[in-house]
Amino acid sequence: MDEIQLIKGFRSELPGASGESRQRARERLEGRFERRRFLGLDPLSRRAAVWVAAALLAGLLAGSALAFGGRLVDSIRGKPAPKDVREHLGYRSTDVFHYVNPVITSRAHGVMEFSTSTGRASLWAAPRSDGLTCLWAKVPMAKPYPRGSSPADRYQQSEDCFDRHRTLRGKPVKVLSWSDSGEPKYVIGIATRKVHAVEVRLLEGGARRAKLDDGIFAAGAPPGFTPVSATAFDAQGRKLGVDTFWPEASIPAPTNPKRTGPFEKKVDAEQDGYRVTASIAPATRGGLCFDVASTGTRHRSYCARPNRGVFPMVWPWEGPPAETRGDAAIWAFVFGQARKGVAAVELRFEDGASSTVPLRDDRFFVAFVTGMNTKPGHRPRALVARNSAGRVIGTARLDQ
């Protein structure tokens, strides 16, 4: 099935607008008709006058330091991050599987400021407990949202976490995030230590030199220009590489494996009062179809193509969601299959503990996650496969 068709069906059951919501919107609009009549002024011309005045004032105050493309005096480099930045970087999910490693907010600090078409943007960084570095950019919006009270109403926000070695994969430069529609448009990325300069190419022609500091770069595009690629140069001005984020080629949508035979029950496991059953059926292109049922949730059926790793199939399942769970405790399970040659599987947790997962027919397994192991700091982190000699032959991460 084509992705577009899949997406068309997604949330298609959402009901249309209620009469009440339509009425409220209509009244809000009509309020504008009335206000215009009452004031006897054209709001467009009033707004234009305010913008012109604001622009003149900003021009007088900001001077050359804030002028686009001018040299920006950096006031945040290396400085501890303020509270709003720390709070953002410290955001952390508390779900059983889909969590992020905690950011060490006490070490959050300023990286650089850079110019954009809407003004000065700031880039902040903090390390994560797993060694990654997280960047967060605060970029002023062209027009702040009218509610205007929270930072989200005034700033575009861009966040990325990276491991320099893994993210660059041997390339000299990599763009992590960019904005290429509306204003402002900008690019943020990383480069190797030997990169001396980074230029951001613009769709409409020309290029802009990015601000580069300690292997991190950022650049705003002039108003009306769109960034399309980043080019790295060494100290002698030689081109080292390009990262283009503007592909042209159209790639066909994937096809799906289809079930080719009947389901056969393979797993019926129970622990701490929770039960998981799974039936398996063959599918096209070497795939498998599953029908999984668990305590408190509906059956879930799916077909998939196996992975090439030591665990061809690994599925972390959250138990019943809070909305239907009521007062019952959180629980989850990991259902999967190990490859031939795997003699034992263990589940490792955030706190360093581990537990053995029994292998069933055809090396299918179910690992139950209950009690303390559903809490942050103790949640499942990885599956480990061992051969008959007890040697680790593969792992699969569960935190996503």
Partner: protein, 196 residues
């Protein structure tokens, strides 16, 4: 015969109440799109704001490019959605994690909110990981039923850019669905038939 949108908007410059016709013609589609992206409550608020802003900015409506105001309205709606991107992503991720879609959270039948399809959850996760510009193009195609030219008009970009963003979004979606080993999935009928 119904006047085209351009004529109505031009008339509304002298007679503002005529803009109500634009509202009546297009509110349902704009609301439906916004509600699917960020939920009914925020969607309702943004739909109202879309028409209020459109009214304020109606002098800028370019009747030369299209007689329909829809692309223009979806352009305004998309701009407003930018400020709710994190909310949108958070809801998609929540759906991917739990199988319960927060966007349907006030739909009366609780069972309808629990989508047993692993495909839908993976789709939500994949949508959450797209870049905003890619998401906008992809969902304007899929949910707003706009043509490439209309999307280009809505977002103020070239048609070629629409194509490349769409291509990139689809590639990204495919990679993500492949990465989890879950291409798709038995039909929704199969999942529904197995309710137990």
């Amino acid at each position: 015969m119904q006047s085209d949108d351009g004529a109505v908007i031009r008339d509304s410059l002298a007679e503002p109440v005529r803009f109500g016709e634009i509202f009546e013609r297009h509110y349902d589609r704009v609301y439906a799109y916004l509600a699917r992206r960020v939920g009914r409550e925020i969607g309702s608020d943004l739909a109202a704001e879309t028409f209020t802003r459109a009214f304020t900015l109606r002098q800028r409506f370019n009747t030369g490019e299209s007689s329909s105001a829809l692309p223009w309205l979806f352009g305004i709606a998309t701009n407003l959605l930018r400020h709710h991107r994190r909310t949108e992503v958070r809801k998609l991720r929540a759906y991917a994690r739990t199988g319960v879609d927060p966007v349907l959270d006030d739909v009366p039948d609780a069972e309808r909110r629990v989508d047993a399809s692993a495909a839908s959850r993976e789709l939500a996760r994949a949508l959450a990981s797209l870049r905003r510009a890619e998401t906008d193009v992809l969902l304007l195609v899929a949910w707003a039923d706009l043509s490439y030219a209309e999307i280009a008009e809505a977002l103020g970009i070239e048609v070629g850019t629409v194509r490349s963003r769409l291509s990139r979004a689809r590639t990204h979606m495919r990679e993500l669905l492949d990465a989890t080993g879950q291409q798709t999935i038995e039909s929704a009928a199969t999942a529904g038939g197995n309710d137990g």
